[in-house]
């Protein structure tokens, strides 16, 4: 029972990381209608920046995190300007391939700068752990902080998209780009802003992910990236609560599957559940229903 509780917390914690990454995917998809495959690699860059800040430049953890967020935000805006903006009118497949190109580019830049050897990441949010039930249940500070960060980010983003002018502009652009432009919304600035927020979140996710699973390589971001993308689709791509639910469910299924079914089959289970959900609800759990007009 206590073992179950510990898996539950681990699952929610891992799921929170997926949810934060999935938000980036979901927002970008909602606005630019593109699958940003380079998102997973922005996570990796964020993790490397914070790693360098701590290890080489001896900065305090808080500043390291802020630095990682700043670098990733700028990176997100630059990627959008240089690689995606010229392709606004292009087919979605061309944009997808460009995103893959950007993903390879980021991985290879990381490979050249930091090398292929895995770095062992020193947790930025480790303050010890809480022990309950006579030492049977350990909860690390990483678990707490990841879940807390997820809650804070979700509330902040919901308020942002609901109350602020920029957030409303984002929703308008994702609803109808042409009409939004006619209403005087600066579409390019809105899309840049979306990439900035998504990439900033990716940096946070990178720090949290590597604090919990401390192996850092140029390919660290790709698998969590794919899983978070799955989570975004799972919950209904384009929806903020959908990303939250999708991410947490995915994390829970992965941890529970690895614990109770088989370690090797954990990932297969995650994807199998995704397929079943999509067959029952083809646009994800909270996705909008698409009506087909003839």
């Amino acid at each position: 029972m206590i073992q179950f509780l510990s898996y539950l917390l681990n699952g929610i914690s891992l799921g929170s990381v997926y949810a934060i990454i999935a938000l980036g995917y979901s927002m970008v998809y909602g606005i630019a209608k593109m699958l940003n495959f380079a998102h997973g690699d922005v996570i990796m860059i964020g993790a490397y920046i914070s790693f360098c800040a701590i290890q080489y430049w001896n900065l305090p953890p808080a500043i390291a995190i802020v630095l990682a967020i700043l670098v990733c935000t700028v990176l997100g805006i630059v990627i959008e300007r240089l690689a995606y903006k010229p392709l606004r009118q292009a087919t979605s497949l061309s944009v997808l391939i460009t995103a893959i190109g950007v993903s390879w580019l980021l991985q290879n830049i990381a490979l050249l700068i930091w090398g292929a050897n895995p770095k062992s990441y020193q947790s930025l949010v480790g303050f010890g752990s809480l022990t309950l039930f006579d030492g049977q249940l350990h909860i690390t500070s990483e678990t707490f902080i990841t879940i807390a960060a997820n809650i804070v980010i979700m509330i902040a983003l919901t308020l942002f998209t609901g109350k602020t002018k920029m957030g409303k502009a984002m929703r308008a652009v994702s609803e109808d780009k042409g009409a939004a432009e006619l209403m005087g919304i600066n579409v390019n600035a809105t899309i840049s802003m979306t990439f900035a927020i998504g990439s900033g979140l990716a940096a946070i996710a990178g720090v949290l992910l590597c604090s919990a699973y401390p192996v850092l390589m140029p390919t660290t971001g790709s698998m969590p990236g794919i899983k978070a993308f799955t989570a975004a689709v799972f919950g209904g791509i384009g929806s903020i609560p959908g990303a939250l639910i999708g991410g947490i469910l995915l994390g829970l299924i992965e941890i529970m599957g690895k614990a109770y079914v088989s370690t090797e089959l954990g990932d297969a289970l995650v994807f199998a559940v995704l397929i079943i959900v999509l067959l029952v609800k083809p646009t994800g759990l909270l996705g909008k229903k698409i009506h087909e007009k003839v």
């Binding site: 998809y29 699958l35 495959f37 690689a83 010229p86 392709l87 009118q89 292009a90 979605s92 497949l93 061309s94 997808l96 391939i97 460009t98 893959i100 190109g101 950007v102 390879w104 580019l105 290879n108 830049i109 490979l111 050249l112 790709s222 794919i226 993308f229 799955t230 689709v233 791509i237 088989s262 090797e264 089959l265 990932d267 297969a268 994807f271 199998a272 995704l274 397929i275 999509l278 067959l279 083809p282 646009t283 087909e292 003839v294």
Partner: protein, 354 residues
């Protein structure tokens, strides 16, 4: 979107492939001075054939049938491991018989067959979905296949074939060893067989496109509802394209597997699917000849860039992004189409614009 191609135009594709094959054979024989192949390029010959088959078969799904598939490497791995299994089983069960040709043919057939069966099983749920959702489900299936192959164990004991799931303790010699993959494979793949497989794939795909079924498939791609309303069985034709594409990928996988002495399921992860998709998009969606050229050039390119050392893949990525940006730039696009028009007016040079 795509022009209807007369069968005579396909002749250029066949002739081009045969010509390149003959040139390669000439270079391999070393008869002509200054016209020899480097060792690394020689090693790329079978993979080039494999990637051509992969790109052409994926183009059938993405270009002709209009469904974005991100799990093509999954079918390749099914084909690779079933092909290796058949070939290695025959090798150990009948050690005295000299069955090289039969083993190779059976391996390719088994690879195509099992990948085709996987295509049917995956196609049933996948083809109910559309667009990006279809893409993510094919991605998911690709990852599931890779995960499952990491859990299966096959061994041969005398003439008995033993199978176990998640349990490596089998009697006899292990042929497929879970996460360790297949080891001790007797290499069977040759460039000549690769060439024959490429020709087979081209004949199947080009004839399919120019057949009644192919026109039905393209009609569904262009407008599903209109196609349905003129009495085309949508499910049947989408399935047909998907399964043929899967089976061809399986055969390519079998050839790929038999080109190495050992292989793991990791080889067929998501990145491989993406790589093949890049070939298809850069070659031109729906353009079979383009897929052949792109697969060849982009497999050779990293070898050519070897002198740049660590910067090799960086340059590859930058080239990819620049090509995508350039091919979607309206100015360059209009320039290109005017150049193509010049060639079109001169029918002698028609083959060079692709």
């Amino acid at each position: 979107m795509m022009k209807y191609k007369k069968p005579s135009r396909n002749f250029i594709t066949y002739a081009g492939v045969i010509l390149v094959f003959l040139l390669c054979e000439l270079a391999l024989s070393g008869a002509v001075p200054f016209f020899k192949m480097t060792r690394s390029l020689k090693g790329q010959l079978v993979p080039i054939c494999v990637y051509i088959v992969m790109a052409v078969s994926l183009n059938l799904t993405v270009g002709i049938s209009g469904e974005l598939s991100l799990g093509h490497a999954g079918f390749m791995s099914v084909g690779a491991f079933s092909g290796i299994l058949v070939s290695q089983y025959l090798l150990f069960a009948f050690p005295d018989a000299n069955l090289e040709v039969l083993r190779l043919i059976l391996a390719l057939v088994a690879g195509g067959l099992f990948a085709g069966i996987a295509g049917v099983l995956i196609g049933i749920p996948v083809l109910r979905l559309r667009g990006d959702y279809l893409a993510i489900v094919t991605l998911a299936f690709g990852e599931i296949i890779r995960n499952l192959i990491n859990c299966i164990y096959f061994s041969v004991d005398g003439r008995d074939l033993n199978f176990a799931f998640l349990n490596p303790n089998l009697p006899g010699k292990l042929l497929i060893n879970g996460p360790m993959g297949a080891t001790g494979i007797k290499k069977l793949a040759t460039f000549e067989v690769g060439f024959l497989l490429v020709m087979f794939t081209l004949i199947v795909v080009l004839n399919l496109i120019n057949s009644r079924s192919g026109r039905a498939i393209m009609a569904i791609r262009d407008n599903r509802i209109a196609a349905e309303s003129v009495g085309i069985n949508v499910t049947k034709y989408r399935m047909l394209a998907f399964v043929i594409s899967a089976a061809l990928a399986g055969m390519a996988g079998a050839l790929y597997g038999l080109n190495f002495s050992q292989i793991q399921a990791v080889k067929f992860k998501f990145d491989t699917s993406i790589l093949v998709l890049v070939f298809v998009v850069l070659g031109g969606i729906g353009n079979i000849r383009g897929s052949v050229i792109a697969a060849t050039v982009l497999t050779v390119l990293p070898e050519m860039l070897r002198q740049f050392g660590d910067y090799r893949m960086l340059i590859y990525a930058i080239v990819l992004i620049l090509v995508m940006l350039a091919s979607n730039n309206p100015m360059i696009k209009s320039m290109l189409s005017s150049i193509i028009d010049v060639f079109k007016r001169n029918p002698d040079k028609e083959g060079k614009d692709a």
